[in-house]
């Protein structure tokens, strides 16, 4: 289970302060699918980055299974990201010099064990996201939706317990979006992975078991 208490994130741009998250407290059930919604600039990505341990909050705490992970060292956070969390970025975020296959097994190599096993598993994961035929393509040879599915496969290589997806379909057409969303739901159903995804499309409510609305960095009852 993931929870945050009194989470505040303030970006300082010179003398201007942007309060992206304000005193936010909430808890997410393990094994669920949660959708974070809100207008542009409401703090959705900021929230996800704090939860994904990619950034540090200005104040407040983040708990994984009751354990405070807010003040972990950079090394320990990297380890957490590697083993416990998967993160899918709003923008396509594959490594351009590597093939789809290599992109997927790289985090496996980092974790250790036999590279051969990771390579095999990467092939399976790519097949699972429907890219079994495209594993030796470089990102620039793949469509946006395909890239996003490679990113999903990469996020899964180390069997994460939680998958964060920041508008995984923002740059995709309706059909690709549906494929990506169905892939995520399948992961939740079959592997029990906790999914937290961001969207500003009200239609996406249907995928989620739970909705969190953000407005000006605060949780609100209804999406307006």
């Amino acid at each position: 289970m993931i929870s945050v208490s009194n989470l505040t994130k303030v970006y300082k741009l010179g003398s201007v302060e942007v309060r992206a998250l304000v005193d936010l407290s909430l808890a997410l059930e393990a094994g669920g699918v949660t959708c974070v919604m809100g207008k542009s600039g409401s703090g959705k990505s900021t929230l996800l980055r704090q939860l994904g341990l990619i950034d540090r909050p200005t104040s407040g705490q983040i708990f994984f299974d009751g354990e405070d992970v807010t003040r972990l060292s950079d090394g320990a956070r990297a380890r957490m990201r590697l083993t416990y969390l998967g993160y899918i970025f709003q923008e396509f975020a594959l490594l351009g010099e590597l093939t789809a296959h290599e992109n997927v097994y790289l985090p496996g190599m980092m974790l250790g064990g036999k590279t051969h096993d990771h390579r095999k598993r990467a092939v399976e994961l790519l097949a699972m996201v429907g890219l079994g035929e495209r594993i030796h393509h470089k990102p620039k040879e793949l469509s946006g939706g395909e890239q996003q599915r490679v990113a999903i496969a990469r996020a899964l290589i180390n069997n994460p317990r939680v998958l964060f997806a920041d508008e995984p379909c923002a740059n995709l057409d309706t059909i690709s979006s549906e494929v990506v969303m169905q892939t995520l739901l399948k992961l939740n159903k079959e592997l029990g992975i906790t999914i937290v995804f961001v969207s500003h499309d009200p239609d996406d409510k249907k995928y989620a078991g739970r909705l969190i609305y953000l407005k000006d960095g605060k949780q609100v009852e209804e999406y307006l």
């Binding site: 990201r81 590697l82 010099e97």
Partner: protein, 403 residues
């Protein structure tokens, strides 16, 4: 361990899939740097070797003994020569008398040392007889015959360093007149001209002991101004010195290093020049690697942010840049070493650089090459580490989400 594996993976992929022109240019730069690191030092080392070698084989031998005190002359020279010959580690010994003289030919005059030698013994210690370019070397019994250095004779070789002050047109067979400092004046036939390509040696002239004996009273027949000793290889020089000094009082000695004289400061300057050139070459290498790494880091700023976001450790990322630098350096060094050994050295040997102490060959010192290679690698590592380390210290979100 995993970090290193990932680092090697990332380094290898970016080298093989990155811009090969950058790779080629970087390695070319390092080739030039390494050649710079080894070429001039090898040349100057070759020069120093040459100077040392010429000094020993044409001027000072390994050791020379002289009389202390007022008179520069050693008496009972033969007895001393025989005794020194019997010392362990001595390869050959000879005695010489140095006579100050002026040599005249037509309107030209050359003031120099004329050495009276025993050709048989002298040729075992020195290599002057091998450097005769005109006529013949001296032989025992030659009277009225003189062997002149090329810088004395001139021999119509206008490219000689001291041609202007030489006798200019003297050849083997010419007749010269010698005024010795003791007032004796004699005519000599030039038996030969030698050219050791070592200016300091080529300004000398040699006559035989037998000739000297015709000019001095019998009680002065067994003298020497210096006794020269050639040692066997690897002999403890101080041991020999001590044994000889114990034979007779009133002896002092000089090593060939002492005899280098002005050249000593030159070889010292060479060493300093080598240091300056090396430091410059290493700075060029450092800047090259730094720029290449830095540009790559700037281009991959977002990628590196993503790598870190998905859990690749910062140390892997830094290590991948260090590995790349090592690979640049390794290939540069390897290629440069091959170029140096199989192209530069042979070409230089065919078209050597000419110095006042002869043609200089590149002296290839393998430990020196190896240590230069390691130093270059070290510099490459440091120059990759600094920008890489600075980059991974920025926040991940700044790397990914700021332009």
């Amino acid at each position: 361990m995993n970090s290193l594996k990932v680092a090697a993976f990332l380094a290898f992929k970016s080298l093989t899939r990155g811009d090969w022109r950058v790779l080629l240019l970087t390695i070319s730069m390092l080739i030039l740097v390494y050649l710079n690191l080894v070429f001039t030092p090898a040349l100057l080392a070759g020069a120093v070797q040459n100077i040392n070698n010429k000094t020993r084989t044409t001027m000072s031998a390994d050791l020379l003994f002289q009389a202390t005190g007022e008179s520069p002359v050693l008496f009972q020279a033969q007895e001393l020569v025989d005794a020194i010959e019997n010392v362990d580690g001595v390869a050959a010994v000879c005695a010489r008398n140095n006579l100050g003289a002026e040599i005249h030919y037509e309107s030209e005059t050359f003031a120099t040392g004329v050495y009276a030698i025993d050709p048989e013994k002298d040729d075992q210690v020195f290599q002057i007889h091998e450097a005769v370019i005109e006529g013949e070397p001296l032989e025992p019994g030659d009277v009225g015959q003189i062997l002149l250095g090329a810088q004395v004779a001139g021999a119509e070789r206008e490219d000689l360093e001291l041609y202007a002050s030489s006798l200019k047109t003297v050849h083997a067979g010419s007749t010269v007149v010698i005024d010795y400092v003791n007032g004796v004046e004699r005519e000599y036939t030039v038996k030969g001209i030698f050219f050791t390509e070592f200016v300091q040696s080529d300004i000398r002239a040699y006559i035989t002991e037998d000739d000297l004996h015709t000019m001095v009273p019998p009680q002065l027949h067994d003298t020497a101004t210096s006794i020269y000793v050639k040692l066997e290889k690897g002999v403890d020089r101080s041991q020999v010195v001590n044994e000889v000094l114990a034979m007779r009082s009133g002896l002092k000695y000089q090593t060939w290093e002492d005899a280098l004289g002005v050249l000593k400061s030159m070889t010292k300057s060479f060493d300093q020049i080598i240091v300056i050139l090396r430091v410059t070459a290493l700075i060029v290498a450092a800047i090259t690697i730094f720029i290449v790494t830095y540009v790559d880091l700037v281009n991959k700023r977002r990628q590196i942010g993503i790598e870190r976001a998905i859990g690749i450790t910062s140390s892997s990322i830094v290590a991948s840049y260090i590995l790349r630098a090592i690979i640049y350096a390794a290939f540069g060094i390897l290629a440069a070493a091959l170029i140096f050994r199989y192209i530069v050295v042979p070409i230089e040997a065919q078209h050597p650089f000419h110095f006042p102490f002869g043609d200089v060959m590149l002296a290839v010192d393998v430990p020196e090459l190896v240590s230069s290679a390691f130093i270059l690698c070290g510099v490459a590592i440091a120059s990759a580490f600094v920008p890489a380390y600075q980059t991974i210290r920025t926040k991940i979100i700044d790397a990914i989400w700021s332009s």
